[in-house]
């Protein structure tokens, strides 16, 4: 088990390094950046010497390879570089913005999970047919409405019409509710879809029929068998939903005019502040990959079948046929929960 965790951890570090490198390569392909924009802006009246000085200060006069090695070296010392537009340390910039975004995404995550649980269970067990149909159509509906539309509608009705929540972020918990519900509805779409499909699949399994035949009630069967068996794919999906949460917070923060990582990202994009963009990509990827690492590690802890599979794979020393993405717990294709394509596409 320890070896499995270590292996996943090393894979995570490698992926992070590769993602950082990919972002670096992408962004160095850029013809301009904030510094050259500053130098070329005639309003600033910079002499060519000033320009050289500025470039030297940010290390932009070196060849790309040297820049990369320096950036990587600084990164290993916990330094993400300096913002090209404000000169502030990128780590400070992100550190200031992170708590707000984390609060938002955490509440959004919880709300999304609660909505998905309600829709999944209600869509399968609700007493009335019309309610089941209604709940079952929810995932497709929520997946079709862009998050900025959900956000704007919430803002319009609950802020401008009903005056229930503040329209701008005033630091209160109430101001957090609107954007968090937006995020929650957004991620609950794939979650509830997977949960519903998973419950339906589990209920067709022989052990459920056996329990029925022996006279067990629906509630007992759900609590003892169906829930635990059908929650595994949802766990995988929860890990994937974090990626959507991070990306969705950019849009949601823009809709609700909140300070946070999203706003910093947009500012950095608009000013071509490359170190900040790179820092955001790194931090977001780190969060996403780490959550999925936790999911991968938790998987064998709660499912003995996967645990057995890992042990068997180690003793046989068989090479796995497919490379594992951050999504897949290192198990066989047949074993791992198969996600619907609509979800896997994200």
């Amino acid at each position: 088990m320890a070896r499995y965790v270590l292996k996943r951890l090393m894979h995570t570090v490698l992926v992070l390094w590769a993602a950082y490198t990919l972002a670096f390569i992408l962004l160095t392909a850029l013809p301009g950046n904030a510094i050259s924009n500053l130098i070329n802006n005639p309003q600033n009246q910079l002499t060519p010497e000033d320009g050289k000085l500025l470039k030297a200060f940010y290390g932009l006069d070196h060849p790309v390879v040297v820049q990369y090695v320096r950036a990587l070296d600084a990164l290993l010392h916990g330094n993400l570089g300096y913002s090209l537009s404000s000169g502030v340390k990128v780590s400070d910039l992100l550190g200031d913005a992170l708590p707000g975004t984390l609060r938002l995404t955490a509440l959004g995550f919880v709300l999304g999970a609660v909505i998905a649980a309600g829709v999944g269970v209600g869509g399968s067990y609700a007493r009335w047919n019309w309610l089941r149909t209604l709940l079952r159509s929810f995932p497709a509906l929520a997946a079709s409405v862009p998050s900025f539309v959900i956000g704007i509608l919430i803002l319009y009705y609950f802020s401008f019409q009903l005056h229930l929540i503040p329209a701008v972020d005033d630091g209160t918990f109430l101001a957090l509710v609107g954007p968090a519900v937006t995020l929650g509805v957004m991620i609950s779409a794939p979650l509830s879809q997977v949960f519903s499909a998973s419950i339906a699949a589990t209920r067709r399994q022989p052990f459920v029929h056996v329990l029925h035949a022996r006279g067990a009630g629906e509630r007992y069967i759900f609590g003892r068998g169906v829930l635990r068996n059908s929650s595994l794919p949802v766990l995988t999906m929860l890990g994937l939903a974090v990626g959507e949460l991070i990306a969705g917070s950019v849009v949601t923060e823009a809709v609700f005019a909140r300070n946070g990582i999203g706003q910093i990202t947009l500012n950095a994009v608009n000013t071509q502040d490359l170190p900040v963009v790179q820092g955001v990509v790194l931090v977001a990827t780190a969060g996403y990959v780490l959550v999925n690492l936790v999911v991968d590690v938790v998987h064998p802890l709660i499912d003995p079948r996967i645990r057995a599979d890992i042990l068997a794979a180690r003793s046989k020393r068989t090479k796995r046929s497919t490379g594992s993405t951050p999504t897949g717990p290192g198990v066989d294709e047949a074993m791992s929960p198969r996600l619907p394509e609509e979800v896997a596409a994200r």
Binding site: P146, F148, E244, V251, G323, A345, R346
Partner: protein
């Protein structure tokens, strides 16, 4: 679960018709009843047809110019003359929504086409040649998928610059990793099949086997991912434009229209609501049709 026991079918019904379990109904009636039974598919199809017509021949639906500024018609509420009202420059919002279809729909077509093209090149290479090519491509896919997708699209927009085509390219490149992974697994499946083995054994060239046997057999699952990706592409492109990273003014792209109308939301909510509902309706219709075809394929 208990319903199976509750409704025992009377034995008389079985004798009534040759087909057991099915109501005795004529073929014509079944065809006539199809639109009623599948009303949501019909509605979805109609919405999509209208949206595509908006994109192709906007002149049929809206007669005025989407960029024509009416100094006296600023911020009018919806009326028979201006169905969706007018914006802060007096432009007819309905006309702008109709003309916006072209940017939004063609953008998503470009995005999906690019995603499939790049994805199938990488996926087919990895699946067909295997070995180190496969290893490299798979690692690359791992890395691309480990960056939250929308954030990667934003990063690519930083490189490519703003504009509807650039946004489409960013979304397409981001989605190519998912396509590559799917196509690789499809190619692997086809490669292990007997018809490919037979073709190779009878001396067919690599390219022939790939184009004549592997590609056609990998098409089905890819097409179903394509239909799903269309909806996602529309949402992402609209979101990028909403953030100001996609279509630039005065282009009437849907996400752009929502962003423009946002400042007037307290007093003129219709400026936001109509374009927003249009995006939602088109994506919903697209996803409904995608699901319908996926269900038909399964049968």
């Amino acid at each position: 679960m208990t319903t199976t026991i509750e409704n025992p079918t009377p034995p008389v019904e079985v004798r009534q018709t040759g087909q057991p379990g099915k109501a005795p109904r004529g073929r014509t009636l079944t065809i006539l009843l199809w639109p009623i039974r599948h009303w949501s598919v019909v509605v979805a199809g109609a919405v999509l047809v209208v949206a595509v017509l908006w994109a192709l021949v906007p002149g049929w639906f809206a007669h005025s110019d989407p960029t024509a500024i009416g100094a006296t018609d600023k911020l009018l509420p919806p009326s028979s003359a201006h169905w969706f009202g007018t914006d802060r420059l007096g432009r007819d919002q309905y006309t702008r929504v109709v003309h916006g279809a072209r940017a939004s729909l063609s953008g998503s077509v470009v995005a999906v086409a690019l995603g499939v093209a790049v994805g199938s090149v990488f996926g087919a290479l990895a699946g067909w040649f295997g070995r180190w090519i496969d290893a490299i491509v798979m690692r690359l896919i791992d890395v691309v998928l480990s960056i939250p997708g929308f954030l990667l699209a934003i990063t690519i927009v930083v490189v490519l610059g703003y504009g509807i085509l650039q946004a489409a390219a960013a979304v397409g490149l981001t989605s190519s990793a998912a396509f590559a992974r799917l196509i690789r697994s499809e190619v692997l499946r086809a490669k292990a099949s007997q018809y490919v083995e037979a073709a190779v054994a009878s001396g067919a060239r690599s390219s022939t086997v790939l184009l004549r046997h592997v590609v056609p057999n990998s098409l089905g699952p890819t097409l179903s991912l394509v239909t799903i990706q269309f909806g996602i592409a529309i949402i992402w492109i609209a979101s990028l434009s909403f953030l100001g990273l996609g279509a630039q003014p005065p282009s009437p792209e849907w996400g752009r229209l929502v962003a423009d109308g946002r400042n007037f939301m307290a007093s003129e909510p219709y400026l936001v609501v109509y374009p927003a509902l249009t995006v939602a309706a088109v994506v919903l219709a697209g996803n409904r049709l995608a699901r319908h075809f996926a269900e038909r394929q399964k049968r």
